[in-house]
Symmetry: D2
Subunit: 466 residues, 4 copies
Amino acid sequence: MHEECGVVGVSYSNETPSALSIYYALYALQHRGQESAGITVHDGTKVSTLKGMGLVPDVFNKGDIQKLKGHVGIGHVRYSTTGGSKIENCQPLIVSFKSGTIAIAHNGNLVNSKELRTELEKEGRIFLSDSDTEVIAHLLVKKLMHSDLDEAVRELMKRLVGSYSLVILVDNVLVAVRDPLGIKPLCLGQIDNGYMVASESAAVDILNGTLLRDIAPGEMLIIKGGEYESKQLVRSKNYAHCVFEYIYFARPDSVIDGELVYSVRMRIGQTLFSEHPVKADIVSPVPDSGITAAIGFSKRSGIDYMEGLMKNRYIGRTFIMPGQDMRETAVRLKLNTIKPNIEGKNVVLVDDSIVRGTTSRRIIDLMRKSGAREIHMRVASPPIISPCYLGIDMATREELVAAHKAVKGVEAVINADSLGYISIDGLVSSIGLPQDDLCIGCLTGAYPVEIPGEKCSRRQLKLSEF
Amino acid sequence: MHEECGVVGVSYSNETPSALSIYYALYALQHRGQESAGITVHDGTKVSTLKGMGLVPDVFNKGDIQKLKGHVGIGHVRYSTTGGSKIENCQPLIVSFKSGTIAIAHNGNLVNSKELRTELEKEGRIFLSDSDTEVIAHLLVKKLMHSDLDEAVRELMKRLVGSYSLVILVDNVLVAVRDPLGIKPLCLGQIDNGYMVASESAAVDILNGTLLRDIAPGEMLIIKGGEYESKQLVRSKNYAHCVFEYIYFARPDSVIDGELVYSVRMRIGQTLFSEHPVKADIVSPVPDSGITAAIGFSKRSGIDYMEGLMKNRYIGRTFIMPGQDMRETAVRLKLNTIKPNIEGKNVVLVDDSIVRGTTSRRIIDLMRKSGAREIHMRVASPPIISPCYLGIDMATREELVAAHKAVKGVEAVINADSLGYISIDGLVSSIGLPQDDLCIGCLTGAYPVEIPGEKCSRRQLKLSEF
Amino acid sequence: MHEECGVVGVSYSNETPSALSIYYALYALQHRGQESAGITVHDGTKVSTLKGMGLVPDVFNKGDIQKLKGHVGIGHVRYSTTGGSKIENCQPLIVSFKSGTIAIAHNGNLVNSKELRTELEKEGRIFLSDSDTEVIAHLLVKKLMHSDLDEAVRELMKRLVGSYSLVILVDNVLVAVRDPLGIKPLCLGQIDNGYMVASESAAVDILNGTLLRDIAPGEMLIIKGGEYESKQLVRSKNYAHCVFEYIYFARPDSVIDGELVYSVRMRIGQTLFSEHPVKADIVSPVPDSGITAAIGFSKRSGIDYMEGLMKNRYIGRTFIMPGQDMRETAVRLKLNTIKPNIEGKNVVLVDDSIVRGTTSRRIIDLMRKSGAREIHMRVASPPIISPCYLGIDMATREELVAAHKAVKGVEAVINADSLGYISIDGLVSSIGLPQDDLCIGCLTGAYPVEIPGEKCSRRQLKLSEF
Amino acid sequence: MHEECGVVGVSYSNETPSALSIYYALYALQHRGQESAGITVHDGTKVSTLKGMGLVPDVFNKGDIQKLKGHVGIGHVRYSTTGGSKIENCQPLIVSFKSGTIAIAHNGNLVNSKELRTELEKEGRIFLSDSDTEVIAHLLVKKLMHSDLDEAVRELMKRLVGSYSLVILVDNVLVAVRDPLGIKPLCLGQIDNGYMVASESAAVDILNGTLLRDIAPGEMLIIKGGEYESKQLVRSKNYAHCVFEYIYFARPDSVIDGELVYSVRMRIGQTLFSEHPVKADIVSPVPDSGITAAIGFSKRSGIDYMEGLMKNRYIGRTFIMPGQDMRETAVRLKLNTIKPNIEGKNVVLVDDSIVRGTTSRRIIDLMRKSGAREIHMRVASPPIISPCYLGIDMATREELVAAHKAVKGVEAVINADSLGYISIDGLVSSIGLPQDDLCIGCLTGAYPVEIPGEKCSRRQLKLSEF
């Protein structure tokens, strides 16, 4: 499972430069994308952009940030789900058009991107990149030819199918848009002398700001001159917040759609024990993403929480030589067992999810080699049986072990003494939001938007709803 | 005076990879642009591109070149005249559209770029860069919506005002186009198992190929499957070959529009003596661009050719500390006098051109300091009185010393004992082409295309000519 | 508190290349030094070395590692305590002398380095760097002029005062030496077809090896041709293992001098509660180094373990703009509170140590801002009242807050509701080794070696003991 | 034939920072070494050094230069003749010893380096690099143990056999030393508020200074506080100035041992015609090193000087793919014929020297392919029949074509219509110094110093001469 994107927008009412704040905010969102980073600011007259491949501190230095003048700006970190790993695909995307410039930072994934592109190409339009964002730019500008911003974005929403949290600079006006289903997170924060929007509230915290609220699904915010204006462009009956933001992707210290991720993970751990009780000597997480659920499991079960695996904090660009035990080496470079903690013990091992099953298998093998007696795997997500089309880079259906095997089969594949997944109900109640407001497409195979060849879980939005 | 761009296209009839050949060819054209370099190849299925900031050997390594698969491809080196120094402006520009992909490498400068851009924006189109090339791409694709390639390029030619030597990949077909006035050079060469086009014949030489001919003004070549097809899309009565390619910009070993640059420069030197005879002890060039003319001057005059100035071959990214004698240091870093060669001598100093006059002044001061008795400046171009809008980055009219002063005035500014420019007639006869086929806009202020606020030297092409 | 050095040596009895194994082992020891990294191998004929500034994966790529031929080699990662941050100071240090070459990797700090250097300079010797290691090299070679290896190293030990775990290549023989007090760790592991020595057993684990034992204080190991030979060159009555390896510096999954670091930290946490009981809602660590002690505290106290602070995993080369709240920003970039976990709660905050007190103060302020009701600080080390001269880069005596204030004073400085340090006795019993075998100089001000101006805790080794 | 080293030293009597001046001077000496560059300055209290791999502008930026404080300093550029291409071998070499620090920059090559090293190793000394310079440092410090500077350098001179132009900082005193035979150049210049020494006078020119004189063979200069003191430590009856500095290595605009290099090359060209007259259409140089001799040849012969070959100014780090015509490509990347200038012509081709003969062969083949009728090769050096041990990296005796073949044989190898080398007498008279004061070891096989296995051309210096 890989990451995707993080977006941020900052608007000061006074002359505070926005670039430094965006830089810090992107840094707080670095876990959402390590492939490229970019910042665009507007100084009232013109846009300036700096973007590059790599981590936030690699892309920007102090001098760069100081040169980016403007009290309003947006930023983006990216791990590509659509569009290759090229400098051309780095965001923000800047386009000039009839009336000025538009800069766009996008988190999400359109499922009708190809269709829209073909349609736009038929009109004689050209594309310089293969990103969804360029498709959005074309459509937005097209709509703006004949409509004001509200109407243009409303029209845009009619055409885009998929997930999109957008942060846009229309000249020096900051605009934030969240798709009508609210698939990807986007929140509003107040900072000294201004406002900000960001994928996660941790970015608000890093600027010492106050989380005001989430952007509502279908809402557009226009921030300018120290004030923000809200337009509810589309109202959906139900939402489709991504459950994997809670399970795995977001930071534990972020609050998403009203729920603290840390608390959700604690409740998941507690529910996991209730649903799959076991007697054991210790509860141990697969670090880092299994930690909080393991603590919850320990609390509910009374079984001691103890780290049986140590993660190398410096894992990164290490190379592996091809060879027989290459994959084992790869796991050992990342994780080491704390042998005395698990030797001769019955261990509950808590992980966030099982995708292909191969990593789980190698971890369990490693722990058995270190002397663990029994290993009881507990998983913070239900079985993933279907791919994600909306922004989480999981795997293809062929690769997903639970798409082809029942729980007992997966248990055998990963070589666990027992295997327990949280139930969908358990997950939903742990999150604390109505099931109808969550996207669980990867867990059921029925998606909240129409995807060719897949089932749709709900009535589509009708045009009248716009 | 700075450089602009070089383009190349290579098409093999067999499976020879084109990228390596393009790499070498760009290397031979490096003098035409040191800011960025790019190569695009097509393998029959898809385009691959690699581009970056810097010199050709800095942008590409062996592994990169080997990864660029395809027996047809194009390349570009660039020094920006329009469009800032950004990675987004690197060429080739790749666009995808209704029917596939188009990659464009462009040498030249449109004078109606802004106007075309505004017109395209009015249609709702968006621009991701500020380069002329994106304008060309939009127009070409627009025309291709309703026409075949011939017709589309013919239509394109009707709209583009300015200089353009274009090398284009339409999927895996190599297309070469030269503007109807033939302002920028473009030639056709035969290589083992294929054909190539390039800005200069030196690029054909480096691949051990044979120069076949220049692409005619208004001609389009389509190269595919080991054959090339010529379409004379527009016929102009007269051409407008840039004289500065001969005077300064092109390599001496290139043949442009039938004339060897070296020979032109030799004849210029000879003519210079005939027009401005002088008695002196030695003839010395300002290296490197004055060398050949100085040799010609020596030959005609019988005055000994002797180097009075030495150029540091490693000049490049050296920094200069601000301060009183900074500008003098800057010249001294680049040039050193060979004192004993000029001490007590009457020296004829030959340079390619005088732009602002400041460099000439500093060189002459340096030579006087080293003991030169008299310094007689002879210049291989007539006085530059007007800016270039068509691709040579000279200076603004305000900066051009000859725009504001007569020869005697310039002589005083540069502190020469005498100053002689070649005459326009002398230059034209040295080049050996009819004056009506040359662009001498910078020498007369009358340009071969209509430029707002400037005089036009000739009747514009009528639509009927297309 | 900063890091220092990690060393590793690998010797295969067959032709397995050692460089790749050393690379992985250094990667496991990366936490011991991030400033530079180096590998030296010997192929039976000659040494090859590669070293550079930066993290292990930045210094070496696959091609580099493949070029380092030899089945025996050593490696080093470094954070300087003596010697500036220069490429010249990177290790291994390679010297050639009368009988061949010696490569040295050194972890530790000599307290008589200056004195030895002066003495050697008096003999006319010259120094090309300012590192302790060059001093060791001079002395070793000097002794080798008249003695065999055993005797030379024994003589060397007589002269070196301080901590030193040395891994040495004498041509293609791997030699490991640990100072007579065993201040810095060094262990022996068995790997497929060979042996290895390393600063920590985690480096043995990453190579899928088996930890055999620690190198004894005063012991020299000679590894060659698939066998190792032990020489107990010096026997000390007592040892002086650094307690901070257990408290803070080593990996939790390493076993040092027989004790698993993780278990020591668990026991420290338990002891901390016993010594400083408190009623609270949650126990929360300062991540990462306070985690295990916090788990131990929770286990003994029954208070829920819950993360109240989140660490940004990507912290690194981020810059901070100077300004009023710069230091607060610096903490916020590194740590974020999980507000709902601490809001209105009484929190036990567990950290590994307090050095200057400033970071603790800022963390506590941050938590109070997030609504924590009471904050009870519990510290896994006793008060640090004196600097470390033996390899841990702590601070000067002036900077150490506990050098100048009693516990109540520190409590006020850091703004805690209560403050409890573990006692020296509690620490010693948590470690599980006799107090006489530990170095607690920084906790008592009395050191195990003579340091000018400081008290010495014990009788010095007499020559007769060698 | 490759380059070796350039050295510079600058001492201001006032507080002018020396680093910037050294930077510019190294830039003027860049042709003497492109592999690494270094600057060391002394501010009265301590030395600061910056060195790195690459060209001068790559190694230093403005900020670096500003940080190097001190009004006295030395610099070095290097292409290794002894010692591999490693950062450890970059100069200046800085050593600390009993009485302070010494920084050394060395141009030249010791022939008894190994012997001295062995001797020093026998005394128990160690070496951290494999450079001659470290040997010199050891010896100098050893002598300084018991003697003052004059005596120590005199003693040093007794031990060093070979070429050495040394620029040394003894704390903040600038010392310049030239070997008793004056093999490598070293000159003294006056600059504003100070003095400088440098390998070539072009470095004095770039600082707008005045060349005062050459350092005499066997002389030591001590520069301090705005004054310089000369000590003639050794007087040789004859000198041994390297003839290849004139033929090839030095800049044409430098004056070496009283002779302007440009003038020497002009005279060589004239002599070449006198010795080997020929009828031809044009005289053409192999650029760049054959240019001046070709001009001289043209002048004496009356045959037109015309460029038949064009050099690519950007040649550098270009890669060549292995393959059949790789070597031909390599030549073509570097040189292109100006076809019309040589087609059907009888050409005199002037080059500085013939080493292996392979390059000459490829150039002649290239010219024949371009249609040259006859090619008459004229060479500015006599046949090279023996290797250089004193600092010019030529080739081994096996590789030297003239070591194994007579002129007619070489003519056949290079495929010339005729071949004429300048005679040794002709060369000597062109240089203008007595033959007894020149090193012509590579031309005769008899060297001015004793080299094991080679003939010695002259009586060795006796100790009494010191």
